[in-house]
């Protein structure tokens, strides 16, 4: 009698649905997955070790490069850890700006997730729809920090600078018609806040558009309902956080349960799922986009009415302004010290976590009193989620692996660090 064997297939790291560099060794019986073994580490850059060798502020930029689709949230956690060790809190306006950009980041992340999740399951149109909206949000990143992705905008003690009064406008470089330029600049006549407000007004309509394509689509439902089910108990055991946990029906959100910055002053809801399958997680994330949109709106209103400083005035760790330096010796010395050796943090340890778009993103920082951290440990949500990959895909078919990878919202920057 012929002997039947399972089929071992190497899924990735060069695979259109590997979301970067996931290597999944699949053992399959026909198309049914018997075993899945995720191999990670192909994007390891030694962020934690690098951070030990440079002054505190130099590593903020490395945090952007962890989860490279939710940049400012990574920074936020790192900056919070430093502030915890220093025992300071940023000015209230800076806190609102941070919250606003955290939520912009959440929308950015969820849009990219929706785009790739859709593309993985074959809904091509969604990909480009989502990128259309992302474009406006990365423009906001650019307006405040000068870069579209790796912002390095949050600093210990506040944010790098206040929101610009003038939203940068498109100029005709010869490749567009004047009519096009005019349309693109329509919302850019005022400040960044005006531009964002226009965005928040139209964004719910765009989310409706995505939902028209997917939510009641029979094929989409067939592909996601009851795929990758995780029970609430199991989700907690596996260390799930964020939409993965909420999709299973556990109401846990650091923004509500352990409010940081000004989240306690803001009004928003935590969407939770029921069945813990891909479809519920999809619904949770879609609703989170709407909630984030509301939070941004509230922040815009507050920021309009409350001008003020965005950086602490303590020049032991925040740089003095250029103007002050011109005729103030002390400021010059502060500047020199900060930009040569940085600042020292009293010995101690701290853990600061934020509700990152993907879950709980935490930085555990140990200081020995020097100008560099003694140790930085990054708690990335994706790492716990990908560990559950096997559990979620065994018994499903090959096509479902792709759906599960999509629903986990993997980005290798923060898993491999």
């Amino acid at each position: 009698m012929a002997e039947f064997q399972n089929y071992t297939m190497n899924f990735g790291p060069q695979h259109p649905a590997a979301h970067g560099v996931l290597r999944l060794v699949l053992e399959m019986n026909g198309e049914v997955i018997q075993d899945a073994d995720p191999h990670i580490g192909l994007l390891h850059r030694g962020t934690e070790k690098l951070a030990e060798n440079k002054p505190y502020n130099h590593s903020i930029g490395y945090m952007d490069r962890l989860d490279y689709v939710s940049m400012m949230c990574n920074e936020h956690s790192y900056v919070l850890a430093i502030e915890k060790l220093l025992g300071v809190r940023p000015p209230i306006r800076a806190q609102y700006i941070r919250v606003m950009f955290d939520e912009i980041t959440r929308i950015l992340n969820h849009l990219l997730w929706l785009a790739t999740h859709g593309l993985d399951i074959g809904a091509m149109a969604l990909f480009l729809f989502c990128f259309r909206e992302r474009e406006d949000l990365v423009d906001c990143y650019e307006a405040v920090s000068g870069t579209r992705m790796h912002a390095t905008y949050y600093r210990p003690g506040g944010v790098y600078r206040d929101l610009p009064d003038r939203m940068p406008r498109h100029q005709n470089a010869g490749n567009r018609s004047d009519k096009d330029i005019k349309r693109l600049n329509e919302d850019r006549q005022g400040s960044l806040l005006d531009f964002l407000e226009a965005f928040t007004n139209r964004f719910p309509g765009h989310v409706d558009e995505y939902e028209t394509l997917l939510t009641d689509n029979r094929i989409w439902k067939q592909r996601t309902v009851n795929i990758g089910v995780v029970s609430p108990e199991r989700a907690k055991q596996l260390g799930f956080t964020g939409p993965m946990l909420r999709g299973s029906g556990v109401e846990w959100d650091l923004r509500k349960k352990q409010p940081y910055e000004v989240y306690a002053n803001l009004d928003f809801d935590i969407p939770v799922g029921v069945n813990g399958d891909c479809y519920d997680r999809y619904l949770v994330r879609i609703e989170e986009m709407r909630q984030s949109n509301n939070i941004i709106k509230q922040c815009i209103t507050w920021l309009r009415d409350n001008p003020g400083p965005v950086m602490l005035d303590d020049h032991k760790f925040t740089p003095p302004s250029r103007v002050e330096m011109k005729d103030d010796m002390e400021s010059l010395i502060h500047h020199f010290k900060l930009f040569t050796e940085g600042y020292c943090i009293p010995a101690g340890e701290a853990y600061a976590a934020v509700e990152h778009p993907k879950g709980e993103f935490g930085i555990y920082m140990v200081s020995d009193g020097a100008n560099k951290p003694y140790r930085v440990k990054i708690r990335s949500p994706g790492f716990a989620h990908i560990s559950a990959m096997k559990e979620m895909v065994v018994g499903h078919m090959l096509a479902d692996v792709v759906a599960v990878i999509g629903t986990v919202d993997i980005v290798f920057g923060d898993i491999d660090r």
Partner: protein, 364 residues
């Protein structure tokens, strides 16, 4: 005209007369085949352009616009690129099958055109068993895919081939049953006769009495050509490119050509069998008021109508691709076996009763 030719080029006429009759016939057939094949291939070229434009606009982007005016040169640029690329043959593949598979995928798609009635009274091969010929050739195309997947000796390609094989078996049956309905309605296996039987306006085409079969046939056609949402054999995000994962250059171009030729073919067959082929939509007595107006030309049957109806179905193919997510392989099987086949069987029974009781447009 002919007399002018005979007097000007008497030697040509003599030469023609000297040829054996079998060769004469062959040359005439070749002269008919060549334009048709060229037209089909040109259609393929511009279908890819059309596809990229249509999907582009549906995706809020522009699509190709660099090569030539409005990007119209894009298909030719693509062809040239594909032809000058190297064909890489994997070391452990079966080289003979690897190279013959793309040909097997392309040839049936072109050969089926022989029986399509292109305009009134013309098909290259006006054979009696046209419908059977169509069934036979459209199901041959799958061999190209299966052989490609197997000969490549790659796991991804093999999965693609297995999926394709299972899918085509399932949908071939539904398609066959749908054609049985057409056969009963048209009373002939000859495609020309089937078109004739649908004469007289939109309402007398078969899509109305055979509506379930029409839907099943067209959707099966989408599945048969491995197009979205049934493109699991390629399954870009799952098995990378499925059966043609290792193909490059001209060999890949053959698969590409085959796929698009098949799409055009399915559009043509749907048109011929369900929406009246080259018949005008306004040809029935209901539209006789148009006779004396400027719109009278719209009542003429012809190639124009075939092309128009085909374009509509081709557009549907692109629309599906732009909007739908992809089915999972077992869901496609379920749809084929548990939905389409029962529908066709039931409707054939209903149609049988209708034919027997002489209700319906074919009762005459």
């Amino acid at each position: 005209m002919a007399g002018w030719f005979e007097t000007t080029f008497p030697f040509a006429v003599n030469l023609w007369g000297m040829l054996p009759p079998l060769l004469q016939e062959l040359i005439i057939i070749l002269l008919q085949v060549l334009p048709l094949v060229i037209v089909v291939i040109l259609c393929v070229a511009f279908l890819t352009y059309f596809e990229r434009k249509v999907i582009g606009y549906m995706h809020v982007r522009i699509g190709p616009n660099r090569v030539g005016p409005k990007g119209l040169g894009q298909p030719f640029a693509d062809v040239i690129k594909l032809l000058i690329k190297e064909i890489i043959i994997p070391a452990n593949s079966n080289k003979f099958l690897f190279l013959i598979a793309p040909i097997l995928a392309l040839v049936p798609a072109l050969a089926t055109w022989a029986v399509i009635p292109v305009f009134p009274g013309f098909a290259i091969a006006d054979i009696n068993a046209g419908l059977l010929y169509v069934l036979a050739l459209t199901s041959l195309g799958v061999y190209g895919i299966i052989l490609a997947g197997w000969a490549t000796n790659s796991k991804y390609a093999l999965l693609g081939a297995m999926r394709s094989a299972a899918q085509i078996v399932a949908y071939e049956i539904a398609m066959g049953f749908a054609l049985v309905g057409v056969l009963m309605a048209g009373g002939s296996l000859n495609l020309g006769d089937i078109v004739e039987a649908q004469s007289g306006g939109v309402t007398s085409w078969f899509w109305l009495p055979l509506f379930p079969l029409f839907l099943v046939y067209f959707i099966s056609g989408v599945a048969e050509t491995n197009r979205a949402p049934f493109d699991v054999a390629e399954g870009e995000s799952e098995i990378v490119a499925g059966f043609h994962v290792e193909y490059s250059g001209a060999a890949f171009a053959m698969f590409f050509l085959g796929e698009y030729a098949n799409i055009i073919l399915i559009a043509a067959l749907t048109t011929v069998m369900f929406v009246g082929g080259w018949h005008s939509a306004f040809s029935g007595p209901a539209f006789s008021f148009m006779d004396d107006t400027v719109l009278a030309f719209l009542r003429e049957p012809g190639l124009f109508w075939l092309a128009l109806k085909m374009s509509f179905f081709l557009y549907l193919f692109l629309w599906f691709r732009a909007t739908f997510p992809r089915y999972r392989y077992d869901q496609i099987m379920r749809l084929g076996w548990k939905v389409f086949i029962p529908i066709t069987i039931i409707w054939i029974a209903v149609e049988g009763v209708m034919v027997y009781a002489k209700i319906g447009p074919w009762s005459a």
